[in-house]
Point group: C2
Chain length 336, copies 2
């Protein structure tokens, strides 16, 4: 049976892991949250939690050396993991890196890769303290990141409440616009379109960055649920709804997209809202917040946009497009 | 510049990580040990340590579906990581798994893989609480394992003392013998040799197992230095010597090798001591212990053999072969 036939990889892993976990063991091991959030959360004692996340990136799937430098690959590996901790309001600390290298990998390649890893680590105060190096036919890199947080300060996908406003930081869709420009560069060249006019959009794909640690902790103080945008706004809002047992509506016209991304979509003849809703890799934060807390948050952090509202579960998870209500589509899921 | 030209991957990673680490940060983050042991060790407070290890296995490098089942691959992934924690006298607890799957991966494959992971996890009381799934051209699997230990009970590569006896658990070389039989199966078939007579040896390669957690903690009570045999006895003894700033001699005739491994080497026309010294993946434990503690240890655990002695650093790291003294060779190192 193919994985897509049973609902995709998320469902499968959930099932395979559930078979094995039981509540007693989770409690004995002080696991507060296992599979199903951006990080696992473990009770460290004295009111403190450990947050652990792991992300793998594979050549020609998550990055391509045709348009990314080893420096950018290293940076991306660190940023995608930092984003998982930041989006639960945690503080990233310790990184462990596994790398499958090719046989002809040069010292210069590794130096550049580590420069990217180290530069990104420095920004977020992370230190790299262990790992494993091996080899394979394609580059495959994995990073495990351990962070900390007071148990009470951790924010989850669950926790969204009826009538919460749904907000997203920054702008969406740029990374996917950049990827599509890069993939179709030669075709666009033939039409005499120089993709370098979309420099910001390209950089958002080549060198994505996480929101900063202190932004995550500020947001965390005021909100009920949080998640980062790795698979597109649709997918993230649905995760929040599933875990919080609520419904939601997103107003398409409110989704924040910058001009360069809109222009890139026009030239590509693609729907810019597809980029924002299902594109992914923006590494912004989606959060839900009571209306009365919005102004307080805005005093400390204001780079966000209200895009919708939490509804009762019975109302479903909807995208409002003018007068139309449609079911919020699925985000990017590898086996669908 | 190629990686082998600057001394291989171990040296390179050490250099690249050292550039980035500084002692103040390590202290602030309560890192007791970073790169250079089987696990990183972090001060968790109240005299307790967290042990963290991560290992990546890649198709056709660390395993092959030509002769291993998905069940065995899953089991191996867990066992190699458990071995890293056990060989520092720690107790493995929480696992995080990243998998790059192929596009045509079936549900049955995943079920079998997870059955192997879960069965092995159960033996060692590990729970799998998180991970990442993505895809690639080859299977690439990474596991990060977190364990615990009293800070004072952790054993390191460093700590070996002059005149300590060097011991190794179990027998060595079987896994490499098994790998060579599998690689040359068709050639051996032509000579009418049925490799299935070497069932134990084959299984040691297909389904390697870690020493048990309680064996590791018992050994830990009596010894000065410990390491697991992932790259061959030579390499592991040299790691102990480097980290402990001592020399060593290993007596070739004392190296424990079982009859089936010896017979396999004969049929393969290969040197069985090469398997033990440089083959790797035996996942036994090498330890150094004061002579006066040997009998105490033997009362609680006796599946080990004395193979040599710790010398002063000036005497080097030697293999004694009859009347000959030779420098202990290098273990398996991917880029050499």
């Amino acid at each position: 049976m193919l994985i897509k036939d049973i609902g995709g990889e998320f469902e499968l892993i959930k099932k395979l892991t559930a078979n094995h976990l039981n509540k007693t063991l989770l409690k004995d091991y002080k696991v507060i949250k296992s599979v199903g959030d951006d990080c696992a959360v473990i009770d460290k004692g004295n009111g403190n939690a450990l947050l652990v996340t792991t992300d793998m990136i594979v050549e020609e799937d998550h990055f391509s050396l045709r348009w990314q430098t080893p420096y950018q690959v290293g940076k991306k590996l660190m940023e995608v993991n930092v984003s998982d901790i930041v989006s639960m309001a945690g503080i990233p600390k310790l990184a462990f890196i596994s790398i499958a290298l090719k046989h002809d990998t040069t010292v210069e390649f590794m130096e550049e890769l580590y420069q990217g890893l180290n530069d990104s680590a420095k920004i977020h105060n992370v230190i790299i303290i262990g790992g494993d190096t091996t080899h394979g036919k394609d580059y495959c890199l994995n990073l495990t990141l351990i962070g900390e947080c007071k148990i009470d300060d951790v924010r989850y996908r669950k926790g969204a409440k009826l009538n919460d406003l749904i907000c997203v930081t920054g702008k969406l869709g740029a990374s996917t616009a950049g990827l599509n420009l890069l993939r179709r560069e030669s075709g666009l060249n033939n039409k005499k379109i120089d993709i370098n006019q979309f420099n910001n959009v390209l950089l958002k794909h080549k060198e994505p960055i996480s929101r900063l640690v202190n932004e995550g902790t500020i947001i965390g103080k005021f909100v009920n649920a949080m998640i980062d945008v790795s698979d597109g706004l649709s997918s993230e809002v649905k995760h929040i709804c599933n875990e919080s047992d609520v419904g939601a509506e997103i107003k398409k016209e409110l989704i924040p997209i910058d001009q360069e991304t809109i222009k890139a979509a026009e030239i590509l003849d693609m729907d810019v809202y597809d980029f924002a809703l299902s594109g992914g890799e923006d590494f912004e934060i989606v959060f839900t917040i009571q209306e009365k807390n919005i102004e307080q948050l805005r005093k400390e952090f204001d780079d966000f946009t209200i895009v919708g509202k939490i509804l009762d579960k019975s109302q479903g998870t909807l995208l409002i497009d003018g007068n139309e209500k449609i079911l919020l589509g699925k985000g990017y899921n590898h086996f669908n």
